[in-house]
């Protein structure tokens, strides 16, 4: 069916609707990855957002059983250039539009996604509405409470021989869990608002703060509790987790002009001078000027815009990264960070026993 994506800037693009024909609205963001649409649309960090793919052919290799980042699509809507209805891949079980229908995800195809990217680049915060009626107004209120919405309500334990990691689910990507399990960890996934006592009862060797959707400042009420927890155990934090740690130590966060979303972002390790290609998906960043250098130091920066990409605590075994070492989508150059974290947990674990 013919439909439209209407932008809060007043621009209107015509296209073909797919998936849930009732449409949707939300913040409009773009992802520059040339592969990985399945991982993107199941990445909980996109909750409340309509994702535009800058790569114009989407759906070429279908949708498979392996590459979901959560049990179902999480983003609100999809905007694509050319939707491939005849995918070709030995692992493919469905076309993208079948999946969209199945899960009530609204999408629009046949749109000039480059033009939309252009608009987002120029305006920064842009909202969009996928609809059959171009005259409808576009709601321009950012979605809130996304973390609460996507986070698990219950604890789930995954056994393993290695250190026991308690993973705070702010909207985690399955690949973070997989990365830990593959390296032998035992992992307990807990709700985002689990308190110190509950964590202690699980007596973890380490804490993982995951990625998640929305403005990190929505987490302010939970910071004191979280700070207690991360200061008690070796901690590794990714994306939203990284921002939360920064906030916990008094730093400030801010919106990026139009986010980093893609698989090609170079970051530099300030200690070694080495540069890594990373997968990123964030609309907010930690303000460098606001970092309390008494406690935190910057470990990684973005090569292009020099923004903060990682932090380490000066005295405590806490390290954070803004990017996604778990990849999926994107390069796995920084996968060794998980191993470092795990070794840290083991080392300290041993100390405690000694």
């Amino acid at each position: 069916m013919k439909g439209y994506i209407v932008l809060s800037t007043g621009d209107i693009f015509e296209g073909e609707l797919f998936g849930d024909q009732r449409g949707c609205s939300g913040e409009l963001v773009f992802n520059t990855g040339m592969t990985g649409y399945q991982e993107v649309l199941t990445d909980p960090s996109y909750a409340g957002q309509i994702v535009t793919f800058t790569y114009p052919l989407i759906g070429n290799y279908g949708v498979n059983m392996l590459d979901d980042e959560s049990i179902r699509p999480v983003c609100t809507g999809l905007v694509v250039g050319n939707l491939c209805q005849t995918p070709s891949h030995y692992q493919s079980n469905n076309t993208l539009s079948e999946i969209a229908e199945q899960y009530g995800l609204s999408g629009i195809a046949g749109v000039d996604t480059r033009a939309i990217t252009h608009i987002i680049r120029e305006h920064g915060l842009v909202f969009g509405k996928i609809t059959t009626d171009p005259s409808e107004l576009v709601p321009t209120k950012p979605a809130t409470g996304q973390v609460a919405a996507v986070s698990t309500k219950t604890k789930t334990k995954h056994s393993g021989e290695g250190p026991h990691i308690v993973m705070f689910d702010f909207g985690y990507k399955k690949s973070i869990l997989t990365a830990l399990l593959d390296k032998g960890c035992a992992v307990t996934v807990v709700p985002y608002n689990t308190n110190f006592k509950e964590v202690a009862e699980l007596n973890p060797d380490g804490i993982m703060l995951t990625n998640g959707p929305g403005d990190p400042k929505e987490m302010l009420p939970h910071l004191p509790e979280l700070k207690k927890i991360i200061e008690a155990y070796p901690t590794f934090a990714i994306c939203l987790g990284h921002q939360i740690v920064a906030l916990a130590y008094g730093a400030d966060t801010d919106r990026l002009p139009y986010g980093h979303r893609g698989s090609n972002h170079p970051v530099k390790n300030l200690k070694t001078g080495k540069v890594y290609m990373t997968s990123q998906n964030h609309g907010y960043m930690v303000k460098e000027s606001s970092i309390n250098t008494k406690y935190l130091e910057v470990s990684y920066i973005n090569v292009n815009d020099k923004s903060v990409e990682g932090l380490t605590h000066r005295y405590l075994p806490i390290s954070t990264v803004q990017f996604h070492p778990e990849a999926h989508p994107g390069p796995s150059d920084t996968d060794p960070l998980f191993t470092e974290f795990i070794q840290q947990c083991q080392a300290i674990g041993e100390k405690n026993y000694a």
Binding site: T54, P56, Y61, R114, S263, V275
Partner: protein, 1063 residues
């Protein structure tokens, strides 16, 4: 890390002449890299004997040595220049091999030159397949098991070990001739036997076959800080089994999941790290379509054809950045000039689909074997971009200039033949596939036969479906949505024109009424994430136009020359680039259209506005309308551009330079002869004939020998010289051309060639090229000497006068190229080309006359300052043709009126002989001069025997082998003959024991397969023995004395000399 401070002077080795597998991409990469070094304040010394390149232009390097690419000459240059570093990774295989030879000869060490970029052992590991495989096994990466064997039994035993299917690759055969794939022992029996027989050294490589797997390429960059990035990956539409250079290639990959993309990405970075490459590297991988299993096929640890393609496909200048890395910079320290914001450590994100399609020389070589395999056969390629694959593919097809503008060829094949035809990869398979779909074959069936991924087949099916829908309407009834869809998917206006039997105007007017026009979008390396500083453009019918065009400024469109092909090579890119630069210098905005990804003209900073588009009428018109250019320059883009002059002007576009009617005057044969009559300049007597009998009569009337050619072109394809009625008749029976044909008197005489610049009245002739071979050998294939050594003043004056008369008569503005033949007292004009020519870059370089710039000014109405024939330069330049016959089985290397060479070299010296020597022995192992006692094989036609009389003394002291007739003749004239050979095979045997230094074989009737001569020449090519088919070339070869090398001089030295002489 900042750059190495101690490196002040760098020697760069170029790749030499254009051959199949090593084309213009090295001019592009080399020029870009040299400039990148110069801007760092480094003195660049360049060695490259390809005179047609931008790389050998004065502004590109501080010192340019157009000297042979031999160890001897390189050592001399190094001794003289004492560079701090040497950069070999820009010169393709030629540059790398030379670097390795220099190192092995201890020269790099002796002069303590530092080898920059990728270390030497890495280069060896990369280029030497055995070493590469050993290393991959060490680091635990899979490579197809392989073994070189000399007997069928060994082959069978090894195949048992690794299991079938296996691929057989014979050593040193033409175009991979004699190779094949065997599915079982029985088949291997056959293939191995054939392969061993085909190989001159009776050796074959047996390797596990992964034919049919996905062939994926990654372009990787690595710096000395061990940072690795992927510039882009590419997927071959033709699965493994067809050389990547002969495959249709798309970027980025279309059928890989992110998991697979990242898996192969990690493999690529692992390999390049293990190799220790510093700079760019190309990695080819075979991926099983039905599992995650893969094999590494090869790496090229240097810039390559693929890296040029990747650079143009993404906007990431690989060569430039490799050069920066070679002098110590890190990727995160080098800014990408396209964005002016991101650093070289940012992986390009592209938001369009790139399609590369090869351009093959089979139109020139009907006899050649058209099947595509593991040996590359294409001479060039086109690149096209759009927002969907169908459009990208169709635009690519349109760019090929093979007389089609859609996925449709005139084929008269039965369904059976068609079904058979698509099994083997050939230059036309993609068209057969489309035709098969038209006839109802399903994607599944075609996939089963071709192993082409269904993704691509579905796209072709979509194109065919749109055709069918369009066909179900008339132009009046066809609905807008459908037309929109057709344009969106890349259908050409011409396709619609033909489909509905209407005019192009009808089509274009309808777009205008509907307010439709293509949009233009940016190639910016970042999918619009950042603002771009120097992007270039492609058209699409989907979405908004982003390209701001400047106003108020004068604007000129320069048409490029499209893909490199025989007869239209890199020289026209040289001219296009200079045209664009001259315009810029004149403060005029230079807009360029071209579709050749290998060239400098499509580099991001050559033009003010670069459009990566087909050079088809409609696409050019669209850009003309978009940019609102004042006019178009068609002289620099070869015949491609000239042919657009007429249709463009009919559409009301202003054409600069020589008028369309004047172009007609020299290209239409009748008008041309009238012109010459009027100016009373002798022209070749010729008769147009419509039947065999007429032809015979004409030939008798004109007297043999005659030259026969199809009438619709002056020159061009299908020309032969025929000596008697028998030859004429057999030619008429074989020829693919239909009547009317032209029978010309064959004028045997000295051929000369002139390039001139004219401002409409005054004419400047920088000099005259004299061919070594008499007329009858295509100007592109003959050796040529500048200035003409054996012309007397009268002849020079006459040639100049003819040139001036013709130029004035047609009011030529800009460049004009004239070929003449001198027979006794008379000087005939053979042909006039109202455009730039192969010799323009050479003459510009060796005379210092900026011919293209003057031509641009003339076209803009400026008058020439100096005119007439310029004084001779005080040194000699010899142009030598270079052939790629070794890559093309079935092609006869014998020289004739049809051009066959793919490239050219130049030799400079104050002595003719030395200059000749440099042009002949232009590279290690090629055409060494004869020394006393060397073995020589001779087989002469009767005519040749006559001529050789009196010149035979030159052969004394040589060990002579000959065919019976020739032997008898030589003995008569008192020459000892070592042995008489009657079979080509015997030549092989002899060569094994006593090296045969050269072969002289004058063909009786050229291009006849099965004859002794033909086989002999094939053997010569196989064994890389220089084979002379013209006595004239052979004579000059005899003049070249071994050891007679002048010390290498940089071009400026020659030119300064010249000025001194003039004063």
């Amino acid at each position: 890390m900042p750059k190495f401070e101690h490196i002040k002077k760098i020697l760069v080795i170029g790749s030499g002449p254009i051959i199949i597998g090593q084309a213009a991409e090295f001019d592009y990469a080399g020029a870009q890299a040299c400039l990148a070094l110069k801007e760092e304040g480094i003195e660049v010394v360049l060695v490259n004997n390809n005179p047609a390149t931008i790389m050998t232009d004065e502004e590109v390097a501080d010192k340019i040595y157009m000297e042979p690419l031999t160890v001897a000459s390189l050592e001399a240059i190094i001794a003289k220049e004492r560079p701090d570093g040497i950069l070999p990774t820009l010169g393709g295989q030629t540059g790398l091999n030379l670097a390795v030879e220099l190192a092995d000869a201890g020269i790099i060490e002796r002069y303590n030159v530092r080898l920059l970029g990728t270390p030497l052992d890495t280069i060896k590991k990369g280029e030497d397949r055995e070493e590469f495989k050993r290393m991959m096994i060490e680091i635990g990466e899979p490579v197809p098991e392989s073994k070189t064997v000399n007997t069928v039994q060994e082959a069978l035993d090894f195949a048992e070990e690794i299991d079938y299917p296996v691929i057989v690759r014979p050593a040193y055969t033409l175009g991979g001739y004699g190779g094949g794939i065997a599915g079982d022992a029985a088949e291997l029996q056959e293939v191995a036997k054939r392969g061993i027989a085909a190989s001159p050294i009776e050796q074959i490589l047996i390797e596990r076959s992964v034919k049919g797997w996905k062939e994926i390429e990654y372009e990787v960059m690595r710096d000395s800080n061990d940072t690795c990035i992927i510039v882009c990956n590419m997927e071959n539409l033709d699965p493994v089994g067809v050389h990547t250079g002969d495959s249709i290639v798309v970027a980025p990959s279309q059928t890989l999941t992110d998991r697979q993309y990242q898996m192969l990405r990690s493999v690529s970075t692992k390999v390049i790290r293990a190799l220790g490459v510093v700079g760019g590297c190309n990695i080819q991988i075979a991926l099983d379509p039905y599992s995650e299993q893969y094999y590494l096929i090869e790496v090229n640890p240097r810039v390559s054809r693929s890296s040029a393609l990747a650079s143009k496909a993404t906007g990431y200048p690989i060569a430039r950045i490799s050069a920066k890395l070679a002098i110590g910079y890190h990727l995160d320290e080098v800014v990408n000039p396209i964005t002016g914001y991101t650093y070289a450590s940012f992986e390009p994100a592209i938001d369009y689909i790139v399609t590369k399609i090869p351009r093959w020389p089979f139109d020139k070589f009907p006899q050649a074997n058209r099947s595509l395999g593991t040996q590359m056969k294409a001479t060039g390629e086109v690149m096209s971009l759009d927002r969907n694959f169908e459009a990208s593919l169709l635009k690519g097809i349109r760019s090929l200039e093979i007389g089609v503008h859609h996925l449709q060829l005139e084929l008269n094949l039965t369904d059976e033949e068609l079904a058979e035809g698509i099994v083997e990869a050939t230059d036309t398979r993609i068209f057969l596939v489309a035709e098969a779909m038209r006839r109802g074959m399903t994607v599944e069936q075609i996939h089963a036969k071709t192993e082409i991924d269904p993704f691509f087949l579905y796209s072709i099916e979509k194109i065919v479906q749109i055709e069918k829908q369009l066909a179900s309407y008339s132009w009046a009834t066809v609905p807008e949505e459908l037309l929109k869809e057709a344009k969106l998917r890349g259908f050409a206006d011409v396709t619609l024109k033909e489909m509905y039997q209407i005019s192009l105007d009808d089509v274009r007017n309808r777009w205008k009424q509907l307010g439709w026009a293509p949009s233009y979008k940016l190639v910016d390396t970042c999918a619009a994430e950042f603002v771009a500083a120097t992007p270039y453009y492609y058209s699409t019918w989907q979405g908004r136009d982003e390209v701001k065009v400047s106003e108020g400024k004068k604007k000129v469109l320069v048409l490029g020359s499209g893909p490199i092909r025989i007869g239209q090579g890199i020289e026209f890119d040289y001219c296009s680039v200079h045209a664009a630069k001259s315009l810029k210098r004149l403060g005029i905005e230079a807009v360029v259209i071209n579709n050749n990804p290998e060239t400098v003209s499509t580099d991001f900073n050559t033009a003010d506005q670069l459009y990566f588009e087909p050079l088809a009428l409609e696409d050019v018109l669209n850009v003309v309308e978009k940019e609102q250019v004042d006019g178009v320059m068609v002289q620099f883009g070869g015949q491609t551009a000239v042919n657009l002059a007429d249709p463009l002007s009919q559409m009301g576009v202003q054409i600069y330079g020589t008028s369309v009617s004047s172009i007609d005057m020299v290209e239409d044969r009748d008008l041309f002869y009238q012109l010459l009559k009027k100016l009373d300049i002798p022209h070749i007597p010729g008769i147009s004939v419509n039947s065999e009998q007429e032809a015979i009569n004409a030939a008798v009337k004109l007297e043999y020998p005659v030259l026969v050619r199809p009438s619709y072109v002056i020159g061009g394809r299908g020309m032969v010289v025929l000596n008697n009625t028998e030859e004429l008749v057999s030619y008429l029976q074989e020829t693919t051309f239909s009547f009317p044909l032209l029978v010309d008197k064959y004028i045997s005489g000295m051929e000369v060639e002139v390039d001139a610049i004219c401002d409409g009245e005054q004419v400047l002739v920088p000099g005259i090229f004299q061919h070594v071979e008499r007329a009858g050998v295509h100007s592109g294939d003959s050796m040529a000497i500048f200035p003409a050594p054996s012309l007397n003043e009268l002849q020079k004056a006459t040639i100049t006068r003819y040139t001036e008369d013709i130029a004035r008569e047609i009011k030529a503005k800009g460049l004009i190229n004239i070929q003449l033949v001198i027979a006794g007292e008379r000087i005939y004009v053979l042909e006039v080309n109202p455009r730039a020519s192969r010799t323009v870059p050479i003459i510009s370089k060796i005379t210092g006359v900026p011919m293209v710039e003057l031509a641009v000014k003339a076209q803009l109405g400026q008058k020439l300052e100096s005119t007439g024939l310029l004084a001779d330069i005080p040194f000699f330049a010899v142009k030598g043709p270079v052939f790629s016959t070794v890559k093309l089985s079935g092609v006869d290397p014998a020289l004739g009126p049809e051009m066959k060479s793919t490239g050219e070299v130049i030799g400079l010296s104050y002595q003719i002989q030395t200059a000749l020597g440099k042009a002949l022995h232009w590279k290690e192992g090629i055409c060494q001069p004869l020394e006393t006692g060397d073995a020589l094989f001779i087989s002469l036609s009767d005519g040749a025997k006559e001529e050789m009389k009196g010149k035979l003394s030159a052969l004394s002291g040589l060990k002579i082998l000959a065919t019976p007739g020739t032997a008898a003749y030589l003995q008569q004239h008192g020459l000892a003959v070592e042995a008489v050979l009657t079979k080509a095979a015997q030549v092989k045997e002899w060569h094994q024991t006593t090296e045969i230094k050269a072969i002289l074989n004058t063909p009786t009737v050229g291009n006849k397969q099965g004859r002794f001569g033909f086989e002999l020449r094939q053997v010569a090519v196989q064994l890389n023995i220089p084979c002379f088919t013209s006595l004239d070339t052979f004579q000059s070869y005899l003049q070249v004395k071994a050891g007679n090398v002048s010390d290498p001089l940089d071009l400026n030295v020659y030119l300064q000399q010249k000025e001194r002489v003039q004063i």
